[in-house]
């Protein structure tokens, strides 16, 4: 490679550059990606602006933040429902802003957290569940409640919010975490459906006919489902005060979870749609959630992180195959609740992916901004281009 070419290659696409491309792509979309992706995308984007402002002082970060603050302020009421209802009891973007002292959200976030604890729909064991189909547990509900409670605890100093978040995490883990496989199952159903519980996204003939055939835990280990659980735990352990009696234990749990996932990472760095079945396709959103959680652990550096550094960079490089230069996303699983009515590994494997699936935006943005933070703050990883060069991947599994 001659010197001119070396110079061109130094003009790199870094982690934040790719985030900007993704945001640009979202903005160009003909459909309302924010509406489809929900508050998680707003959370990831507003968090991105904070990371971006640390990295550089370009005005586009402030512009993006202003846009997100405005969006979060005007978020539709139905996205702040009184129960979980697979709608958001607390907007995670607002709660995160409150926890970081940005904007003026603390009061409303604390009120929403109190309301969630008082009125949130729960199963017999006190776990937040699905009001449309009582007893339905999902790692997605964990992601919708636990981090927000932790952020609310942080901004208000109210220990009850932390305690509830920990209680929810432990309760969910008892039902959905498989300690032998070291994997999460994405959901649990207490019985057959009555036929009245399908939602707008479940209206396909396939899902209507088969939905909820099975009682119990969905057997397939869906990568995005794993990601939701990891997200919940990552935010919880980050926000919990060091003095909290569960902090040390949960930190250890997170480390064990992430260590358990290493065996399921393929040689190209990806995790698959069904984590323990490489016959299913490499899946981008689950991979990104895992990388985000791993990045959180690496950045804090509380324990020896060296064993995670190579898999982490391999994962970032592997994910790069499915991130296009214009911000397009490939291999993101379409949304689902218990595909095929049984949620087996085969059911999840048959659930296809689509280009630019909105559910992929938030985890990818989070994973990349976390990588940028590690690059800036610790120097433990190099630029994205360097990572791609060091971990080029194999071609055939």
């Amino acid at each position: 490679m001659n010197s001119k070419v070396k110079k061109i290659m130094k003009d790199t696409t870094g982690y934040l550059d790719q985030c900007v491309s993704i945001c640009g792509k979202i903005g160009m979309g003909r459909t309302n990606v924010y509406r489809q992706a929900g508050p998680m995308l707003e959370f990831s984007t507003v968090r991105l602006t904070k990371v971006g402002m640390i990295g550089d002082h370009e005005t586009h970060w402030q512009t993006l933040r202003d846009e997100q603050l405005s969006r979060i302020r005007t978020v539709p009421e139905e996205l702040r429902g009184e129960t979980t209802d697979l709608q958001w009891a607390i907007h995670p973007g607002a709660a995160w802003l409150a926890a970081r002292g940005i904007g003026d959200y603390s009061k409303s976030v604390a009120e929403a957290a109190e309301k969630l604890i008082a009125d949130g729909h729960r199963n017999a064991d006190g776990l937040f569940d699905d009001p449309v189909y009582p007893g339905h547990l999902s790692t997605e509900i964990m992601a919708m409640t636990i981090p927000a409670l932790a952020f609310a605890g942080k901004c208000s100093g109210n220990g009850a919010f932390f305690d509830e978040a920990v209680r929810q995490y432990e309760g969910y883990a008892a039902v959905l975490y498989d300690p032998a496989a070291k994997l999460w199952h994405p959901g649990y159903l207490p019985g057959k459906a009555t036929g009245e519980m399908w939602r707008y996204w479940d209206k396909s003939i396939l899902t209507q006919g088969l939905y909820l055939k099975k009682t119990g835990v969905f057997q397939g280990c869906w990568s995005r489902g794993e990601g939701y659980a990891l997200f919940a735990l990552s935010e919880l352990v980050f926000e919990l005060p060091d003095s909290h009696p569960k902090k040390a234990e949960l930190l250890q749990v997170r480390e064990q979870m992430l260590e358990g996932l290493l065996q399921y990472q393929d040689t190209n760095g990806m995790w698959h749609q069904v984590l323990n079945d490489w016959g299913s396709y490499p899946e981008t959103s689950g991979t990104a959630w895992i990388l985000y959680a791993m990045g959180r652990l690496i950045k804090r550096g509380r324990t020896a992180v060296s064993r995670f550094l190579a898999p982490y960079q391999k994962g970032l490089a592997g994910m790069g195959r499915y991130l296009a230069w214009d911000g397009s996303l490939f291999n993101v699983s379409t949304g689902c609740i218990c595909p095929g009515g049984r949620g087996t590994a085969a059911d999840y494997a048959l659930l296809g992916w689509r280009k630019d699936e909105p559910a992929g935006c938030a985890p990818v943005l989070l994973a990349l901004q976390q990588a940028a933070q590690i690059e800036f703050a610790t120097g433990l990883i190099p630029s994205y281009q360097e990572v791609l060069k060091q971990f080029p991947g194999d071609e055939v599994l």
Partner: protein
């Protein structure tokens, strides 16, 4: 957009794939040569020359592809282009000319004119003709003929282009059908984008390098203009061309898009397409194409090997044929598209 970086990423990913020698090897090596030229990258030039050496030197026993024997195994277009630009030694000219002579005399023809192969529905008869051929033979004969002063090669290149255009071009849609007399005694109804791209690859090179005094020059220029106009009309709002170009229900396809952009960019660069609409089509297309190329140089949405698929190459047949991540056809076309983008950037035409 950093098109040089994109092109180098594609080339690097291609090499990692370690494909066996096939006609797409020739396509990609030609793309890499063009990259080396536009980037003034002597190291890349030497790398490609070294890779090509066993081809023109007769050390590659077989290259997959219908024109493998008299064309691809000698390096095809890549060797001919390198020869024309004095990147190959004198001894290469002899061997490549011998291959061209064999191609002209031994390759089966239909009614002594157009190259062909046995009909699928009646293998005892010759007559299956398809647009892919012009990519294989026209630039190879043209560039070798220009270098070696062989008018018969140049004439044959132009003649084969005319034969295929007359037979497979739809003057209404201004696009190519892929085949005739394959599964059925009729044209394949779909308008396969890579097939159109093969046709345009040959047209772009002929229009650029055929001497303007050649009797077929006017015909070639008009065919080129017509086909590009057909492409402009069938580009989707995101800038892509689809697997069957008349049917946006088929998937956006990257190899066809890349080849069309190569031909369009080359025509803009050479002053053939001066209206703004062509440049806008190119800009939109190259932007769209980058949406299918991964940060590691991987290429999505590339149709796998494809010749009259299914019932008879209908739009549905092409759709069902599907696409493959990092297929061997995936790399040459976007590399070539990038080289034209770089050329246009150098001229200040493209931002």
């Amino acid at each position: 957009m950093n098109y040089p970086m994109l092109a180098y990423k594609l080339w690097d990913r291609y090499k990692r794939q370690q494909f066996p020698p096939v006609y797409t090897t020739i396509l990609t090596y030609y793309g890499a040569f063009r990259m080396a030229e536009v980037m003034d990258d002597g190291i890349l030039l030497e790398e490609v020359k070294e890779k090509l050496h066993p081809f023109w030197n007769g050390k590659i026993a077989a290259v997959a592809g219908y024109y493998g024997k008299y064309d691809y195994r000698w390096g095809g277009n890549a060797s001919a282009w390198a020869l024309l630009h004095d990147y190959l030694p004198e001894e290469a000219a002899e061997k490549i000319c011998a291959a061209c002579d064999d191609l002209l005399t031994l390759q089966p023809r239909y009614e002594n004119k157009i190259f062909c192969r046995p009909k699928w529905y009646d293998p005892s008869q010759m007559g299956f003709r398809w647009i892919d051929s012009v990519f294989g033979v026209c630039p190879f004969l043209l560039w070798t003929g220009l270098k070696c002063g062989k008018a018969n090669y140049i004439d044959e290149a132009a003649a084969q282009m005319r034969y295929h255009h007359e037979l497979l071009f739809d003057p209404v849609r201004k696009l190519y059908h892929q085949c005739i007399d394959a599964s059925r005694p009729e044209l394949t109804p779909g308008y396969w984008s890579r097939g159109v791209g093969w046709g345009l690859h040959a047209l772009a090179d002929l229009a650029a390098d055929l001497p303007s005094g050649h009797p077929e020059y006017g015909y070639i220029r008009q065919a080129y203009q017509d086909t590009i106009d057909g492409c402009v009309a069938s580009q989707d709002p995101e800038g892509m061309w689809h697997q069957s170009m008349d049917d946006f229900g088929t998937f956006p396809e990257t190899s066809g898009t890349g080849l069309i952009l190569y031909a369009l960019g080359k025509g803009i660069r050479n002053g053939f397409f001066t209206s703004d609409k062509y440049l806008e089509t190119f800009k939109k297309g190259i932007r769209g194409l980058t949406g299918y190329i991964g940060l590691d140089g991987s290429v999505q949405n590339c149709c796998g090997g494809c010749c009259c698929p299914g019932y008879n190459g209908t739009a549905a047949d092409y759709q069902i044929r599907g696409w493959i991540l990092n297929d061997n056809h995936a790399f040459g076309p976007p590399i070539l598209a990038c080289t034209e983008a770089i050329e246009l950037q150098k001229r200040g035409i493209l931002p």
